[in-house]
């Protein structure tokens, strides 16, 4: 099927990453994309730090909680660089906290926890990623808008899938790696979120 899109207000992510948000941390200085801690070569927060925020939904997005996590970029896709809304999964077979947007050089797509990038990032740099809950558009405006899908997303669970374009996006949870087939009898794929409506396809 051809790639499609789904609006940020129609999806919510399930946080499958280890750790719980720490209530003692406020929003980082200058927001989540502040230059003192986001896309920096040395970690300003312990890797794996999670912050939970409440997206009020009065200015942008849906109301609800969202979780952001401090991770490291491994080696991103040379052809399609990481940008806001890039869907990333684990990159390294040695370090769980390194992520990449390269569908051809990652640990696995389906069943993996998802980390959505907030902005462009440099390889090896640390920064914040959206990993759970509703889309925190009131905190990071560039996260709002359309997310790429493989055209199979319907209301229900979603996971990370390989797109026709050289990138990863969202897909309906299905068995194996063939998009468009019916969900597996055994839940081999962990959903990384859910959609409340079908994608635009």
């Amino acid at each position: 099927m051809a790639d499609s899109t789904i609006d940020s207000e129609l999806i919510a992510l399930k946080d499958l990453w280890p750790g719980t948000p720490t209530s003692r941390l406020g929003t980082p200085t200058g927001g989540f994309t502040g230059s003192s801690h986001h896309n920096v070569p040395s970690p300003a927060y312990p890797v794996g730090t999670k912050i939970e925020v409440y997206n009020k939904g009065t200015k942008a997005g849906q109301p609800g909680f969202a979780t952001l996590m401090y991770l490291k970029v491994g080696t991103q896709n040379a052809a399609v660089a990481i940008a806001a809304k890039s869907v990333c999964v684990c990159d390294s077979a040695a370090d769980w906290y390194k992520v990449t947007n390269d569908p051809d050089d990652c640990v696995k797509k389906r069943g993996m926890p998802v980390a959505v990038a907030l902005s462009t990032m440099t390889d090896g740099n640390y920064g914040w990623f959206w990993v759970g809950g509703v889309c925190p558009e009131e905190f990071i405006a560039n996260l709002g808008g359309n997310y790429a899908t493989d055209g199979t997303v319907a209301a229900g669970p979603i996971c990370v899938g390989d797109l026709a374009a050289d990138a990863m996006g969202f897909s309906a949870t299905v068995d194996g790696s063939t998009a468009g087939t019916t969900p597996a009898a055994t839940p081999a794929d962990w959903a990384c979120g859910f959609a409340i409506a079908a994608d635009a396809a």
């Binding site: 720490t22 003692r24 941390l25 406020g26 009065t58």
Partner: protein, 333 residues
């Protein structure tokens, strides 16, 4: 060739005062303060009695043998407004605490003092932001806005307004054409339109009430030109000096105020004609820009080595007479 020794041996000339790049005047707040319309008081809600009707239709003319009628009317209403809360956090961490200590040879500015002053200014700025917000319904959290008071056909202070149903027309914001549907209608910034707005606002108030118009740069300059073009020059000075221009506009005893906030926010078509005597900025004395003491955040496991203080404000901006004020959101030059 610049000398390396010079670079090593000489400091930059540091200018020892902070230039505020983001300073914006907030004339609305200043006006309410000047008119002593900032009220420090408590109470369950902010309420007062208003008269909503008059009894001239009880009057009866009669002839000698006619019976005299009797009757009564409800003439009072009690609009009620809740308390709204706002806080601004001020945080500094261990790095700021340690590295920002010392005299002027080490420290260019007292960063903690700068943060506190910035937060105090931000509290006033945020109040003006909420005052100019365009949402017409009370979301329960934000201080209520001028738009909520003056927009037509919305509920304000628990009193519903509906022109279609003829409900509480006395409580509507002023309307030029009396339809109470013209708030967003297109209107040009002309003298005659200004006078129509002014007449609508002055219809139900005592003689001598002072009005102010709050607009952004574009509309301010438009009315400045209107006034200038009508002011004949009587300058008999025969000197070679040319002096021209004005920095204040009063038309028909209504003072125009250039509000930079409206320009910055792109509200170039908003026209607010306000009667400050009908507005109150209520602040609860328990939260009147109160700044809490700095509290260290590291006393519990996983706590952070930083300090937190907050500026707390509770209150609300209320209008007791919306029909003496007007908001037009679509005025063009």
């Amino acid at each position: 060739m610049p000398s390396n020794d010079l670079a090593l041996a000489t400091r930059d000339a540091f200018v020892n005062s902070i230039e505020d790049e983001v300073f914006l005047e907030i004339p609305l707040f200043t006006l309410l303060l000047a008119k002593k319309k900032i009220i420090w008081a408590g109470g369950k809600k902010v309420t007062r009695l208003v008269t909503k009707d008059e009894v001239s239709d009880l009057a009866q003319t009669y002839k000698a043998k006619e019976g005299l009628s009797s009757g009564d009317k409800d003439i009072l209403a009690e609009p009620a407004f809740g308390w709204k809360n706002m806080q601004i956090p001020i945080v500094w961490d261990i790095d700021t605490y340690l590295q920002n200590a010392g005299d002027s040879t080490i420290v260019k500015a007292n960063l903690i003092k700068v943060k506190v002053e910035a937060a105090q200014k931000a509290a006033r700025r945020k109040l003006v932001e909420m005052a100019y917000a365009t949402t017409s319904t009370d979301d329960g959290a934000d201080f209520q806005s001028i738009a909520q008071a003056l927009d037509h056909d919305t509920t304000y202070g628990t009193i519903a307004r509906s022109i279609a149903a003829g409900t509480n027309t006395w409580w509507q914001g002023a309307s030029v054409d009396g339809t109470y549907t013209d708030r967003s209608g297109s209107i040009t910034a002309s003298l005659s339109n200004f006078r129509r707005c002014k007449n609508a606002c002055l219809r139900h108030v005592k003689r001598g009430s002072k009005l102010y118009v709050f607009v952004g740069d574009a509309l301010y300059d438009a009315y400045l030109s209107v006034a200038e073009s009508r002011k004949l020059s009587t300058d008999k000075d025969s000197s070679l000096l040319v002096k021209y221009g004005h920095d204040a506009v009063v038309i028909d005893n209504v003072e125009f105020v250039r509000d930079p906030y409206l320009t910055e926010m792109g509200r170039t078509t908003d026209f607010f004609m306000l009667n400050p005597d009908t507005w109150e900025f209520r602040i609860n004395p328990k939260r009147n820009f109160k700044m809490t003491a700095p509290v260290w955040q590291g006393d519990q496991t996983n706590g952070l080595d930083e300090w937190l203080r907050r500026i707390l404000v509770s209150g609300n901006l209320v209008c007791w007479k919306p029909n003496a004020n007007m908001w037009r959101s679509n005025m063009s030059e």
